[in-house]
Subunit: 310 residues, 2 copies
């Protein structure tokens, strides 16, 4: 074990976008001595082997040697996967995950734990609309936040896991699992539900053709199609696991949208102008916080010939 | 007059993002002999003069020499501006606009026209979340669609205006004004209303701080803040002018969103998976049609150090 490695042996369960990016970042930034990935899908395993981003790709998870086991499977599979692995893990090892909902997972894994294995929930707020091992890249976590939900923020295990994520480029915050779920319902889960609904509405219009929706999408619609192209299985699981928080913010949102609808119906320009003006400030704050690009249209049109035009 | 100029003299009324970009593109692609911009705002005029993107900047509109007058003012000011200029325009000249709603403008300008001046509604589906003359650039219209709503698509005047927009880099489509308004309500106006509402909901949550909304925005929320940062006056006018079409698609949208809400409430994973799967295809079609970037996260994170991080 060389001193700069934060963990000697890491097992990543699930080699998709997030799992494969963790492996790449571990290698790029020297965060681990040895990284093994396991995935139940033979196609994914073959892809991982040809990508050559980790020390070994295993058909089945063998967690006996791992100091850290990272569950990078869809949210709905995390608890079952934990159940299958915990008995084989070595004393003192840490189990963590990367799921977008924390309360449900923390609550259901707790009764499965033995005294010598600790589970620390994790959630890197990073990703793209793409899925699978080819979609990953080492800098995915650079300057993105990773939220950890340990029992005790001051524990050595929590501090080491924090250091691990920082070594991958992340900024790390500790948070209560329930509060995490409400924050993410607001900044991630609701936006995805809204986008999925809009894309559904637009493609089901009988008076506007799909060809027209595609052609004239640059007026705003195209922004929504990016997140509505995200992994359907993962997002199904998120909404099943974070039901209460999502229903809370969704209820508020439908009220706010209905208020704007009323303003449109009554030609109430004053209300519209007031609402549209107050939303501008938050964008500047997000850019100042390094969480988005300052260039117009996210920079995608800046080069003119760099926008995917065939 | 040199033969490659499509119009000898162009007057652009309003030197903001769109007006100033038209001027830049005219110069870049040689679409006009002489381009004059007028703007009622002295700060905008001073900015236009220092940018040096047109042949003259005038305090008041003098349309007597113009072959083409382009109204690039907010939608709510288009009809009044047309009224003020029409009497001074020369016989045979064309009046056009760049507003996001066409039915209202076409209907209200028609009774003001004399026999020797033609109005052709126009709408370039291009823009950014930024406003003002500094925000413009010559390639704004490159590969973006511009919709024209002439009385007669085969008329010489409609064909010349089409050629003009093509010379700025646009693809041009002719469309009935009413149909335009329904298509754009779907692909542009509804997306903006949804985004404004979401940003409002998220910033008004009493259980989640604004700081948290900003920090964890990369999970999806940041995509919405871009279009919710668009010009409030312009968007107020859009919703006042396109009320009926917006209320139609907004009603459908609230129904679809309510159906997803019901699926979340009842833990109906099958419905969620079905809805989330069918929305993926449209993104591929938009990318294939050259209307968005194929790179993940719109390409903004691709370079790692190119995402506005301070």
């Amino acid at each position: 074990m060389t001193t700069q490695h934060i963990y000697t042996n890491i097992l990543i369960v699930g080699g998709g976008l997030i799992g494969s990016s963790i492996a790449r970042a571990c290698r790029e930034y020297g965060a681990a001595g040895r990284v093994v990935i396991t995935d139940k899908d033979a196609v994914v395993r073959a892809s991982l082997r040809s990508l050559d981003i980790c020390d070994a790709v295993m058909d089945t998870a063998e967690p006996a040697d791992a100091d850290l086991v990272i569950l990078a499977v869809p949210p709905g599979s995390i608890v079952d996967t934990a159940k299958a692995l915990l008995a084989q893990m070595k004393p003192g090892a840490i189990l963590t995950d990367v799921g977008s909902v924390k309360g449900d997972v923390v609550q259901n894994i707790a009764p499965l734990l033995t005294a010598d294995i600790e589970f620390i929930g994790g959630h890197p707020i990073a990703g793209t609309e793409q899925s699978g091992p080819e979609a990953g890249f080492a800098s995915l976590f650079t300057d993105r936040w990773c939220i950890l939900t340990p029992e005790d923020e001051k524990s050595k295990s929590a501090q080491i896991l924090k250091k691990f994520w920082q070594s991958l480029g992340s900024r790390v915050a500790f948070m209560d699992a329930k509060h995490h779920d409400l924050v993410l319902a607001t900044t991630s889960h609701l936006p995805h539900l809204i986008a999925y609904a809009l894309v559904g509405t637009a493609t089901d219009m009988e008076t506007v053709t799909r060809g027209e929706v595609v052609k004239y999408s640059a007026g705003g619609f195209r922004d929504f199609t990016r997140i509505a192209a995200s992994d359907p299985v993962m997002w199904r699981d998120v909404f099943l696991q974070n039901r209460d928080a999502v229903l809370d913010v969704l209820g508020r949102y439908i009220q706010d949208l209905t208020a704007l609808k009323t303003a449109v119906r009554w030609g109430d320009g004053e209300t519209l102008l007031k609402e549209f003006t107050k939303t501008r400030d938050i964008r500047h704050r997000i850019i100042d916080a390094g969480q988005d690009s300052a260039t117009p249209n996210f920079g995608r049109d800046a080069a003119g010939d760099d926008d995917g035009v065939e």
